[in-house]
């Protein structure tokens, strides 16, 4: 399944690419896309793995762009 998150205060296009690449490399993630302009992060993975993925993704984001906040997208 896919889940969508918003990366609030994402200002740097290059960092968006770095974040995307690092999240893609997480073991449980089937695919991940960061869209810089809409600030969306879309992750495809097994539902059961999402808790861990979100935790890891948040860690990655803190490292790359500390100002960016990852929140679940409103439906």
């Amino acid at each position: 399944m896919t889940k969508t998150f918003i990366l609030e205060d994402l200002d740097c296009a290059h960092c968006a690419g770095v974040i995307e690449e690092k999240i893609q490399k997480l073991d449980e993630v089937k695919s991940a896309q960061v869209n810089f302009m809409s600030r969306r992060l879309v992750i495809d993975a097994e539902e059961s793995a999402f808790d861990k993925i979100v935790k890891d993704a948040k860690k990655i984001i803190k490292k790359v762009e500390p100002d960016v906040e990852m929140v679940a997208a409103k439906l």
């Binding site: 969508t4 205060d9 200002d11 740097c12 296009a13 290059h14 960092c15 690419g17 995307e20 690449e21 896309q33 869209n35 810089f36 302009m37 809409s38 600030r39 969306r40 879309v42 803190k62 490292k63 790359v64 500390p66």
Partner: protein, 618 residues
């Protein structure tokens, strides 16, 4: 401007003033250099303090080659080799560039969300005699809602009371208001302009047009164009390579060339670091694509991702469904051939014969007659299946039907030349003439095909389930190159697969359908374009591009937008990389100062962003 941006602006202004003071102290007043140095440092810290802080924090986190780090090293290095003014100036320009970037990005984000500002905030639900304001999600199918002038239609529904005009511009790009009356279907997201409407919700909010469109628009960028991925990949290698070159430049010449000044080569290396920043290079590309997608949405063409926008620019083969795509899918009387009576009499007789029928052909005949029918004049109506209708009108036998019916009645007829369904009419034993009924070609279809041709779509193909004669007649009128007629849905898929093998290596094939029954064909093409997306759920799901209106002319428009966007993207890539490489070379030979380097970074970004914003303007 956001709070963050304002803070940055104030820092830039304050830093700029202090920097100017430092310049005056050093060059105007010729005071002791140490005094100037202190003022330079103050200016530097005001402007670049956060960059240094972020650089330190990111290195702790294991992030090398990040922008803050590069700018930090470059400017601190400049201080050490004694170029204080340049250190501050570089940081100042860098910050101005960053500010401009976030301003531009913010503005485009806002302009797109304003464009797609179709989200209804509330619904006025009728409960007994009172009206309650609820959120659109809380409305159930069957609820009656009140929509006042100026309000947005919150859910898809049917008008139960009142008439009005609707502004559908945000949904379709169509500026002509649409009229609705009791019984009209109404889609969510439109703005009610003139009268109060009572509508019955026919879909839940989540299933309503507005929710689907919003979802589509929001996920637009999730699929990226190849060019977009290229630039992120390029940046991944570009920065480390330039940084390594900078290190080599700082060390090797000074060791090899006798008499070389360390400070000179280090200065050149520092210029390299300034140029090595990746962000300026990366940012203009997604911004351009975003603008292109936004510009297309503005014209009522929703493209699901920049990859499809990119593909559209390489359109080579265009495949079209006929009914509902190039034609209106509505039957109309296109020819009236009276024999020994007036057109009016012929139409009247035919209309009465078809007075009770709900068949589309019958409806079109009644429409062509255009007057109220007094059905009491009619009796003994008998539908002869597959043939036509026999009835008694004003006490005399009448009949309207095809050739077979005429044979049965023993009437000899004259076959008209036009293509379509022919209805012959007989009254009181004598032949009155014939009517030709055909699907109507959309007004802009021929022009659309002509434009596609001039845009380099090499082949146009029409697929239709209709009879060969009908298909060929339409194709000829429109100037379509090839027709495959009498196809079953499965045949269409097969033809599509065959056509997919016939395009050139880079060329793309697009298929345009109305979304009814052609989901597999839509999926089989490089670009599946669904027409008249409003209301057709299947189309919005299966297609890669949704054209909100019924106009085929939106396709050449979309191709043009795609080409233009890609052109802007290419200009930006060539320009940004070109300037950076040029300045790198000049800096290596000591011909470019740090000023040029900061232009190569910030100046290029600003120009590329301005260029990218053009993509939004259609």
């Amino acid at each position: 401007m956001t709070k963050k941006m304002k803070k940055r602006l104030y820092r830039i202004l304050a830093g700029g003033v202090v920097f100017a003071a430092a310049l005056i102290v050093e060059h105007g007043l010729h005071l002791d250099f140490n005094i100037a140095l202190i003022i330079y440092l103050v200016a530097y810290l005001i402007v670049g303090g956060d960059v240094i802080r972020n650089a330190v924090r990111n290195i702790m986190g294991g992030q090398v080659f990040d922008e803050n780090f590069l700018m930090g090293i470059a400017t601190v290095g400049a201080f050490f080799v004694g170029d204080c003014a340049e250190a501050v100036a570089v940081m100042l320009f860098y910050q101005v560039g960053e500010l401009f970037q976030s301003y531009a990005v913010n503005r485009s984000r806002k302009s797109i969300s304003a464009l797609m500002d179709i989200r209804p905030d509330y619904a006025n639900k009728k409960q007994g005699d009172s009206i309650v304001k609820v959120s659109p999600e809380e409305v159930a199918v069957g609820d009656i809602l009140l929509v006042k002038p100026g309000e947005r239609v919150p859910l898809d529904g049917i008008v139960r009371k009142g008439d009005s005009t609707l502004d559908t511009k945000a949904l379709t790009g169509e500026s002509m208001p649409r009229e609705v009356a009791e019984g009209s279907e109404i889609i969510s997201g439109c703005i009610n302009l003139t009268g109060v409407l009572e509508i019955e919700a026919t879909k839940e909010y989540g299933q309503s047009t507005v929710a689907k469109i919003l979802k589509l628009v929001e996920s637009q960028g999730d699929k990226k164009a190849k060019t977009e991925n290229f630039i992120t990949k390029f940046a991944r290698y570009y920065t480390p390579v330039v940084v390594i070159l900078a290190v080599l430049l700082a060390v090797i010449p000074s060791l090899l060339i006798p008499g070389a000044a360390w400070s000179d080569w280090i200065y050149r290396a520092l210029s390299f670091l300034v140029i090595s920043c990746p962000c300026a290079l990366v940012i203009s590309i997604p911004l351009s694509f975003f603008g292109g997608l936004g510009g297309a949405s503005k014209c009522g063409v929703l493209i699901k991702g920049s990859n499809y926008l990119e593909a559209l620019a390489y359109s080579e083969i265009g495949v079209f469904d006929k009914t509902g795509t190039l034609t209106k899918g509505q039957f109309r009387v296109v020819q009236v051939n009276p024999e020994g009576c007036s057109e009016e009499e012929l139409l009247l007789t035919a209309a009465y014969c078809e007075g009770y029928s709900g068949h589309p052909i019958a409806v079109s005949i009644r429409e062509a007659y255009g007057k109220e029918l007094d059905l009491s004049r009619l009796s003994d109506v008998e539908e002869v299946s597959g043939h036509g209708i026999r009835a008694v009108l004003d006490g005399k036998a009448a009949a309207a039907g095809n050739e077979k019916l005429m044979k049965q009645l023993g009437v000899s007829v004259k076959k008209p030349e036009a293509v379509g369904s022919v209805i012959y009419v007989v009254y009181d034993g004598s032949y009155m003439g014939s009517l030709v009924i055909a699907d109507v070609i959309k007004e802009d279809a021929a022009e659309a095909l002509k434009q596609m041709k001039s845009l380099g779509v090499k082949r146009t193909v029409m697929l239709t389930g209709d009879a060969k004669a009908v298909g060929e007649a339409v194709a000829e009128k429109l100037g379509v190159d090839q027709v495959y007629a009498e196809l079953l849905p499965a045949d269409k898929v097969e033809k599509m697969d065959a056509l997919m093998t016939e395009k050139s290596e880079k060329g793309k094939l697009f298929f345009v359908g109305d979304g009814m029954n052609d989901a597999p064909v839509l999926a089989g093409a490089d670009i599946g374009i669904a027409m008249g997306g409003m209301g057709s759920d299947a189309a919005i799901e299966a297609a890669d591009v949704v054209i909100m209106t019924d106009e085929p002319s939106k396709i050449p428009k979309a191709i043009r937008i795609a080409r233009r966007t890609l052109g802007i993207v290419r200009q930006n890539i060539v320009f940004a990389i070109g300037v950076k490489v040029l300045v790198l070379i000049l800096a290596a030979f000591g011909l470019a100062s740090m000023w040029a380097a900061v232009f190569a970074d910030v100046g290029v970004a600003v120009i590329a962003i301005c260029n990218a914003i053009r993509a939004l303007k259609v």
